[in-house]
């Protein structure tokens, strides 16, 4: 019997080693262990004919052999399974560069929104409140309160959209009316920025739009000076451009500031040597600004002796075009998805 067991063990080892697939290995297992006719099973059934003493001895051996044979099988099975796991690198390979289908659409924000949001966040971090104002304004806020008298050329209809049957209303030509509205509403001290849509009655071409966007800021406090204005503008540009910039201030005229300035920034493309981007001057006209005119402070309901301030403007539309290299201003209101989907 023992010999028989050894024989079975040998054969089982050979058979399992010779099997070439999981299926074949299963057949080998059947051959030895099938319930009815398995060679090992049949031998095990012969146990009942043995004496107690022998049964004990043989039984022990039988269990040993059984575990050994099962170990062969498991080993072989494991071998086959390992091969399968190794094979999935090929059998289950996918094109990892392929997008998910159908591709879900992505949404986009308008480039003007992106620029305004960035600027507003910067100003908020500097303690400025973000304000809005009406796009259809009264002549009073758009002009008179800003020290632009009735005879000023800016009030000609070639520059300003007027409203039929409402001669006292205009489409705002700048965001500056909010300066006065803000002073009236919030008083002083005040730090605020306004961004929004403005209108000028001019024909549209690649660089002109009758509908455009501005961002402007106002600071009202005690003892504000030209030195403060330059200091804050430098910080502002550093925040916008995330680097130190060299600036220069020169005279500029705007009725609602006195004195008024044009602030130029040293050209970032050529570093001041002169190039196409700065029209060979080395400087880029960046921010019109100035100390708030006492008449404007007065219109805001504040005492111009006690309160002073500065204001500045940013052509956010031009900034947006520079940022993205947009060559034609008409794209911004063109509503062409092929354009908008690039942002």
């Amino acid at each position: 019997m023992i010999e028989k067991l050894e024989q079975i063990k040998k054969e089982a080892r050979e058979a399992s080693n010779n099997s070439s697939s999981l299926e074949e290995l299963e057949l080998v297992r059947e051959r030895f262990f099938s319930r009815k006719s398995g060679e090992f099973t049949v031998l095990a059934k012969g146990m009942k004919d043995l004496s107690d003493n022998e049964r004990k001895k043989i039984g022990q051996k039988m269990n040993e052999v059984k575990s050994e044979i099962e170990a062969f099988f498991d080993h072989k099975k494991n071998e086959f399974e390992m091969k399968v796991w190794e094979a999935i690198a090929v059998t289950e390979a996918i094109d990892v560069t392929q997008p998910k289908l159908p591709t879900p659409g992505h949404g986009h924000q308008h480039p003007m929104t992106i620029v305004h949001t960035e600027l507003e966040e910067l100003f908020t971090s500097m303690g400025f409140t973000v304000l809005d104002g009406p796009e259809l304004e009264s002549e009073y806020y758009n002009f008179d309160a800003l020290n632009i008298p009735g005879t000023h050329p800016a009030r000609d209809s070639q520059d300003t959209f007027f409203i039929k049957n409402h001669p006292e209303w205009v489409m705002r030509t700048h965001t500056s009316p909010v300066q006065v509205r803000a002073m009236q509403k919030y008083g002083a001290p005040l730090r605020a920025v306004v961004s929004g849509r403005c209108f000028r009655n001019e024909s549209t071409d690649a660089s002109h739009e009758h509908t455009f966007y501005q961002m402007e800021g106002i600071v009202i406090d005690r003892h504000i000076s030209i030195a403060h204005l330059i200091g804050v503008m430098k910080e502002l540009l550093r925040g916008v451009l995330r680097k130190d910039v060299e600036v220069r201030l020169r005279p500029g005229y705007f009725p609602f500031v006195e004195p008024g300035f044009e602030l130029d920034m040293k050209c970032l493309v050529c570093g001041g040597a002169g190039c196409g981007a700065c029209k060979h001057s080395g400087w880029i006209e960046t921010l019109p600004c100035g100390l708030v005119h006492p008449k404007v402070i007065e219109a805001g309901g504040l005492d111009p002796v006690e309160w002073t301030g500065f204001a500045f403007g940013l052509g956010s539309m031009r900034l947006c075009m520079q940022k993205y290299g947009i060559e034609d201003i008409r794209h911004l209101h063109g509503g062409n998805l092929s354009f908008l989907e690039q942002f």
Partner: protein, 821 residues
């Protein structure tokens, strides 16, 4: 405006070491914006005067000649086709490297040595048109070359030197001197330059006019407000001819074409002093017994005048004119009349130097679309004191140029001058505070005096006060308050010399702009989560759009002066322009999902105040959100837009309800329309466009649209309070329920019941709606997934079964629902 560097140097002794570029930069930094610098000589580089030594025939061409030309350093051979070329003639030789215009046309071309029909030619003998001098030297024949034999210069002299083209022209941006009436002539700019470089500046000296008495010249001003000053004088014995070369050169330098001596004098004085002048031919002006009456009056309605540009102008009563006893002879300050123009036959002239109301001049020139160098200056509020200086200078120049001329009338002078002279009183500490630094009193005084201000310093040291008199040329409108004085000091001191500082502010957080917060949340939701693209449309809509939507133009505000008549109306809704956008893109994109955040204008509703004190209000201008969606093959885009709205609300913590409603709007699909509610507030609409309207727009598929009021949402948003619900420790149980109901039964009503019927149900989610196969017509199958959960115990099957039974019963009673197994 163009400024001649040589002209400036007449008034200011500038060091030779100073370059025009440095001066231009200094002007930009302290006074005006310089747009460009042009060296006159640059255009004539590599061009010299040459003398033709010998002319030979060209072997291969009859029309060409081979010339030996002395160009100073050498004699060169040049092939030339000029008809008038002869030996001994002085000509313009463009040497190799010069840039010329072939036959006066096209781009400039750089000369290279060439062979013309086999004969070598080193350079070119130029015609006037080939070097841009046709204005100066008109041609009498096509093939004529420029004969400069009259020039008393040696062969080899650079052409620019020979012709006096050695000036440098500084181009000033006119916009930067709009507020500075004193800077519209060389004298005014020179004053700034002298102040900047601390140079002496001469007063404007002119000899008195020796008056005559042969003729009488009388001036009257009808409205005192139209002219603060009118001066005139008559001169006889005029011989018209070209003006001297030095005057012509200066005029050319600043871009004015010389005409004749008298016209050139008026232009010269204008460019010198900034004071426009005019000259009339006395013989064409109505006179009676040597008496001339000049009137400054308003035009009569319909009165006509043919101006110098040969156009007939129809005038109205707002326009100031110069008239004689019977007719208009000039449009005051804008342009003279053709009838009284100076011609070669003119022998007697009347010079005018006047001041006119700047606002009226601007209005007239705008109305007539006629702008001139003169009107551009008058509309800036010129100093009326300059009139007499100008008149005297003009007479002086006539005497210099035209020895036979003499003044035959007295000097007529009318008008009442009123110009702000100050004093402006300003404390030294005010100047220091505004500048943010201390500039010595001495330096302040020096700067102000160099600009023509009168300054008196009073008070103790450390408490000084400056009493400042404003010069007449700055008092017409420019300088009025103390801040203006600070600007004068600061700009001349140099903005670059001011040390920058940062203001000190209290550390307080800025107030949050709730509307902006909501706008950003909406954009994030729609663009980043829902795949919509943001657009910006115009605020103006077209009549065609309104018509397509059957909207009433009367309910819209209208522009008085639209750019073009195509979009005159102010939008009440974002819809019309959005639909145009969807239509345009629908031809190139299968799916169009877009939104806009923008203001609309509602005339009948009250908006912000027109002014702080008055009661008048502007129209309401709320910020709206418009969402549009169309996709090829999508028959119910409504759901996409309605769902996007729900997300927008959910992100803000405001539940947006879609509330079925009835509409009479013709452009709306009546079966697919709902109000959008937030709590009890009606905040907007969502609908599909009527297929008929979509077709009229040129769109094949269906379009859904929603518009909600973000201002209204921002008010609700203030009350939003998002709270946390503790998690249950017991497992949830999910059960599905499916049933068949009439198609008219609303999900909202079913859902309301499912979530309210038993406290164990924590959510009910619709996961399938089906119509068609196996479902009778007019019916639909709905399936919900119910989630049961308790915070107190693990639920037992039995109790859930009971609730399910209760639900089935209720659905059946309420909606006649047939439960499907």
């Amino acid at each position: 405006m163009n400024i001649s560097y040589k002209w400036l140097k007449q008034y200011v002794d500038l060091p030779d070491s100073l370059t025009p570029e440095e001066l231009a930069h200094a002007l930009t930094m302290s006074t005006v914006e310089v747009e460009g610098i042009h060296h006159q000589a640059n255009a004539f580089e590599h061009m010299v005067v040459g003398v033709i030594v010998r002319i030979k025939k060209h072997e291969n061409a009859d029309a060409l000649k081979v010339c030996d030309v002395d160009i100073g350093s050498e004699v060169v051979q040049i092939v030339c086709g000029g008809s008038n070329v002869r030996e001994g003639m002085k000509v313009v030789v463009a040497k190799i490297g010069a840039r010329v215009q072939w036959h006066g046309e096209g781009e400039l071309v750089e000369l290279k040595p060439v062979k013309i029909r086999g004969v070598e030619s080193v350079g070119m003998i130029c015609g006037a048109d080939e070097i841009g001098l046709l204005d100066m030297f008109p041609k009498s024949e096509e093939k004529e070359i420029l004969d400069v034999s009259k020039l008393k210069v040696k062969a080899g002299t650079p052409l620019a030197t020979a012709l006096g083209f050695d000036d440098v022209v500084i181009e000033v941006d006119n916009k930067s001197i709009n507020h500075r009436p004193d800077l519209w002539g060389h004298y005014g700019i020179a004053r700034e330059v002298a102040a900047r470089y601390r140079k002496k500046f001469p007063s404007y000296t002119v000899p008195e006019i020796k008056e005559g008495s042969d003729s009488k010249l009388r001036v009257s001003i009808e409205n005192a407000g139209d002219s603060m000053k009118y001066t005139a004088v008559m001169m006889d014995g005029i011989v018209i001819g070209p003006s001297p070369e030095n005057i012509q050169q200066r005029l050319r330098a600043v871009g004015i074409r010389p005409v004749n001596n008298i016209v050139d004098i008026t232009n010269y004085v204008m460019c010198d002093l900034g004071q426009p002048m005019h000259a009339f031919d006395t013989s064409k002006v109505k006179s009676q017994k040597s008496k001339v009456d000049i009137q400054v009056r308003r035009a009569k309605a319909g009165e006509k005048l043919t101006t110098l540009d040969q156009k007939e102008r129809i005038l109205d009563e707002s326009m100031i004119v110069i008239a004689d006893a019977e007719k208009v002879i000039a449009l005051a300050g804008v342009m003279g009349g053709q009838d009284t123009e100076i011609t070669n036959a003119t022998t007697s002239i009347i010079f005018e130097a006047a001041h006119f109301n700047p606002i009226s001049i601007r209005k007239t020139s705008t109305t007539l679309g006629l702008r001139s160098d003169s009107s551009a200056r008058f509309e800036k509020s010129l100093d009326p004191h300059n009139c007499m200086y100008a008149l005297k200078r003009a007479v002086e120049l006539v005497y210099e140029i035209c020895p036979t001329a003499r003044v035959v009338s007295s000097v007529a002078e009318k008008g009442k001058v009123s110009v702000f002279k100050g004093p402006i009183t300003i404390s030294k500490s005010f100047i220091d505070t505004k500048m943010g630094m201390v500039v010595s009193t001495k330096e302040c005084v020096r700067i102000l005096e160099s600009l023509g201000f009168g300054v008196k310093v009073v008070g103790k040291k450390d408490d000084e006060v400056l009493k400042i008199e404003v010069p007449t040329w700055r008092g017409t409108k420019d300088i009025t308050i103390a801040e203006d004085i600070v600007e004068e000091i600061a700009r001349m001191y140099g903005y670059d010399n001011i040390e920058t500082k940062l203001p000190v502010f209290a550390i307080t957080p800025p107030q949050r702009n709730e509307l902006r917060f909501i706008e950003r949340s909406v954009r994030t939701t729609l663009s980043r989560e829902r795949g919509f693209t943001e657009t910006l449309n115009y605020s103006f809509v077209s009549p065609q759009s309104l018509q397509l939507l059957e909207l009433d133009p009367i309910s819209h505000l209208e522009l008085d002066n639209p750019i073009a008549s195509d979009r005159p109306y102010l939008r009440r809704s974002l819809l019309p322009n959005m639909l145009e956008l969807v239509e345009r893109n629908s031809h190139t994109h299968d799916e169009v999902g877009v939104y806009e955040i923008g203001k609309v204008f509602i005339p009948e509703d009250p908006g912000p105040r027109e002014s702080e004190s008055g009661d008048n209000l502007l129209p309401r201008q709320d910020t709206m959100l418009g969402i549009a969606y169309a996709k090829k093959g999508d028959e119910t885009p409504f759901f996409v837009v309605a769902d996007a709205l729900r997300s927008v609300g959910a992100r803000l913590g405001i539940e947006l309800y879609i509330d079925p409603a009835v509409t009479g709007l013709s452009y709306v699909h009546a079966g697919r329309y709902a109000k959008v509610m937030a709590h009890a507030d009606h905040v907007g609409e969502v609908f599909e466009l009527h297929p008929k309207t979509a077709q009229e727009y040129g769109m094949a598929g269906r379009v859904a649209y929603a518009e909600i009021n973000l201002r209204a949402l921002s008010e609700l948003f203030r009350t939003v309070n998002t709270t946390y619900r503790p998690l249950s420790m017991y497992p949830p149980v999910e059960r599905d329920i499916a049933f068949m109901v009439d198609s008219s039964i609303l999900h909202r009503d079913v859902h309301e019941i499912l979530t309210a019927i038993d406290p164990l149900i924590v959510s009910a989610v619709l996961f399938d709606v089906f119509e068609g196969k196996n479902i009778p017509k007019g019916k639909k199958s709905m399936a919900y997934r119910l989630t049961y959960q308790s915070n107190e115990r693990t639920l037992e099957t039995k109790e859930i079964d009971e609730v399910q039974k209760k639900i089935e019963k209720f659905l059946h009673e309420r909606f006649h629902a047939e439960i499907r197994e």
